[in-house]
């Protein structure tokens, strides 16, 4: 049985036995692009695929499916499913841990179909067969999802040497003025389409700080100061939470290296606190928590 067939039968069994009411996985479009598939009926399971083009981090769909209380209630189907199965790569599975720590849903509500991952190709979701692996995958040494209820595929016994993060070392090595100029130039390309935010499982605020109706903090202009506020603010909100799936960078129409900024924060948090987002279901040390008296009005 091919891995896609194993995945299909796993999904089918889960739906037929009623263990889950929904499966979030991948399918191939008629034009050959791999994309998210959300299926509720066993006979739809045959659509599911697994390949080195399954680049999306599907956990962005988990809260919408499960959490009635996150301000997105309007998006929900009439009766939200009690339990959802989701296909996760090792990086994606870390997002589940972050969201569990943040009480977005409970562990019992999720059935994680973990994939032994050997990396995703460049150009995914529609890469040429001979395409090389994405750089983030060349830097990654995780082959088994930290959260999984079933593991599909064989994790390789020997891992290739992880690639050092040269882009990050380079930008960190720039003199401060040059580094600032580099980032500001990148941010200024932004068109505030919010694709990065919408595709991010961790950007789950019911109302984003950068899109308040009252413009008290950040205005509506699609202009440099607002763009900079958005990028710097978002990066800080993701410190210790970003799992490095790189979806934000993949979807950005302007080619802004958002992942590079997030890696800078992730490495800073790791070196200061020894924390790597989502390796366990614990909160980011940078996330503020108000104690009882502080949160009183």
């Amino acid at each position: 049985m091919s891995i896609s067939e194993t995945m299909q039968s796993t999904a089918r069994d889960l739906l037929i036995s009623g263990q889950v009411q929904r499966v979030i996985g991948f399918e191939a479009s008629p034009r050959g692009r791999v994309r998210p598939a959300i299926i509720d009926r066993p006979e739809e399971a045959e659509r599911l695929v697994w390949s080195a083009d399954c680049t999306h981090n599907l956990t962005v769909y988990l809260q919408r499916a499960l959490n009635r209380d996150n301000g997105h209630a309007s998006r929900e189907p009439a009766t939200p499913p009690a339990r959802v199965a989701i296909v996760v790569k090792p990086c994606d599975s870390r997002a589940i841990n972050v969201l569990l720590a943040e009480h977005q849903f409970s562990r019992e509500q999720v059935f994680a179909i973990g994939m032994a991952c050997e990396g995703i190709r460049q150009g995914a979701p529609a890469s040429a067969p001979e395409a090389t692996l994405q750089e983030r995958c060349l830097r990654c040494r995780e082959r088994v999802p930290v959260v999984h209820d079933v593991l599909l595929g064989e994790p390789p016994s020997a891992l290739p040497e992880a690639l050092p993060d040269e882009a990050l070392a380079h930008v960190r090595g720039l003199p401060p003025a040059e580094r600032a100029a580099f980032w500001l130039n990148q941010f200024d390309r932004c068109i505030r389409c919010y694709a990065c935010r919408q595709t991010c499982p961790m950007c789950n605020c019911p109302t984003c700080l950068f899109e308040q109706e009252d413009a008290l903090w950040v205005g509506m202009r699609i202009a440099p100061s607002e763009k900079r506020a958005f990028h710097l603010g978002r990066a800080l909100h993701l410190a210790g939470r970003c799992v490095g799936c790189n979806e934000c960078e993949r979807v950005c129409p302007m080619g802004i290296p958002i992942g590079l900024l997030n890696r800078h924060l992730a490495e800073t948090v790791e070196s200061l606190y020894g924390h790597r987002a989502g390796m366990q279901a614990v909160l980011s040390p940078v996330t503020g928590m108000l104690s009882a008296e502080e949160s009183a009005p």
Binding site: R31, R35, H56, P125, A195, M220, P253
Partner: protein
């Protein structure tokens, strides 16, 4: 056919860039974008369709409509000045049509949008025919062609050492006057076309309103605005008054508008908190039905030029041709 040598065209473009803002496809590390260029040499001639349309030069991502200055009892209103002249060279037929589509709402249906009108008045549309259609292009379904000159002031067709030139408007003719244009025998070679599968009729799109598939598509849609922001015809905007830094004793504000899209969650939020388009699928449906039903009904042209950008850009592959194709099959 009238032709102009590449050398003379470049000289002319250099001259144009010295007098006014010249916008053209430009190759950057992140892809090809319409950008202001200083010289003809900076133009990406061989490039595919730019990643974003050229609409931002007529309908900028955000702009001030009005400035308000309050000094004690005095209130001063300042309307923004009129636009400076600009020329867009290397414009694709689908992007020129996008501008014509915006004209229908901003210029041809009262009230006239004065900001848009002043930019439009000051913008020359200098087209460059596509040699062939890209993988996701479907301009032919929308009644255009890769070498369609109709919406341009001047249309150029690249023939290697020379370019065929055709003036389409009096403005275009005036622009070409005095150029060393050569009359050559023969006609311009038409661009190669690819027939693409059909889209539903306006009637069939309309009848799809209650189709259960919209909710299914909505489950996948991320409710970003990428599809609308890359689109040459999506022209929704939000208007807001924001405070400006003011000298002591004064209060300055600006009324500004910025791009918006019906695909975002709060687009139809009303006072009191009701959201008639709370479901993502209903917003996605609105975007497509606006293109093929509502906009043509209200303003005339279909609000899609077949550029195919939203097909390529959508992070989760919501594909207008696929969605429409399935609806059409069901309608037959």
């Amino acid at each position: 056919m009238k032709t102009l040598s590449r050398e003379n065209l470049n000289l002319w473009l250099d001259g144009l860039a010295a007098q006014q803002s010249l916008i053209a496809p430009h190759l950057e590390a992140q892809g090809v974008f319409y950008r202001p260029v200083q010289r003809a040499q900076e133009i990406a001639w061989e490039a595919d369709r730019p990643a974003l349309s050229a609409k931002e030069f007529l309908f900028p991502p955000s702009e001030r409509l009005l400035k308000v200055e309050k000094r004690g009892p005095d209130i001063r209103l300042e309307v923004s000045p009129s636009a400076a002249p600009q020329a867009i060279f290397g414009l694709r037929p689908c992007d020129a049509r996008g501008i014509r589509v915006m004209d229908a709402a901003f210029l041809e249906t009262p009230p006239i949008d004065s900001q848009y009108a002043s930019r439009r008045e000051n913008t020359l549309l200098l087209g460059l025919a596509c040699r062939s259609m890209g993988a996701s292009c479907f301009c032919t379904i929308m009644g255009l062609a890769p070498d369609d000159p109709r919406d341009m002031d001047v249309m150029f067709t690249d023939r290697g050492p020379t370019l065929a030139v055709q003036a389409l408007t009096p403005r275009g003719e005036a622009l070409l006057a005095g150029l060393p244009i050569v009359e050559e025998p023969g006609e311009v070679e038409p661009a190669s076309r690819r027939e693409v599968g059909g889209l539903p009729t306006a009637e069939a799109w309309k009848e799809s309103f209650g189709d259960a598939r919209w909710a299914k598509h909505g489950e996948r849609c991320l409710s970003c605005r990428l599809c609308a922001y890359v689109c040459p015809t999506c022209r929704c905007y939000d208007v807001r008054d924001e405070a400006l830094p003011s000298p002591p004793g004064e209060a300055h504000f600006e009324r500004l508008r910025a791009w918006d899209s019906c695909t975002r969650e709060g687009y139809r939020l009303t006072a009191g908190g009701h959201n008639p388009r709370a479901a993502a699928g209903s917003r996605l449906r609105n975007r497509l039905l606006c293109k093929f039903v509502y906009y043509p009904h209200q303003y005339g042209p279909a609000a899609c030029t077949g550029c195919g950008r939203c097909l390529d850009a959508c992070p989760v592959n919501l594909d207008l041709l696929e969605i429409g194709g399935a609806l059409q099959e069901a309608a037959q």
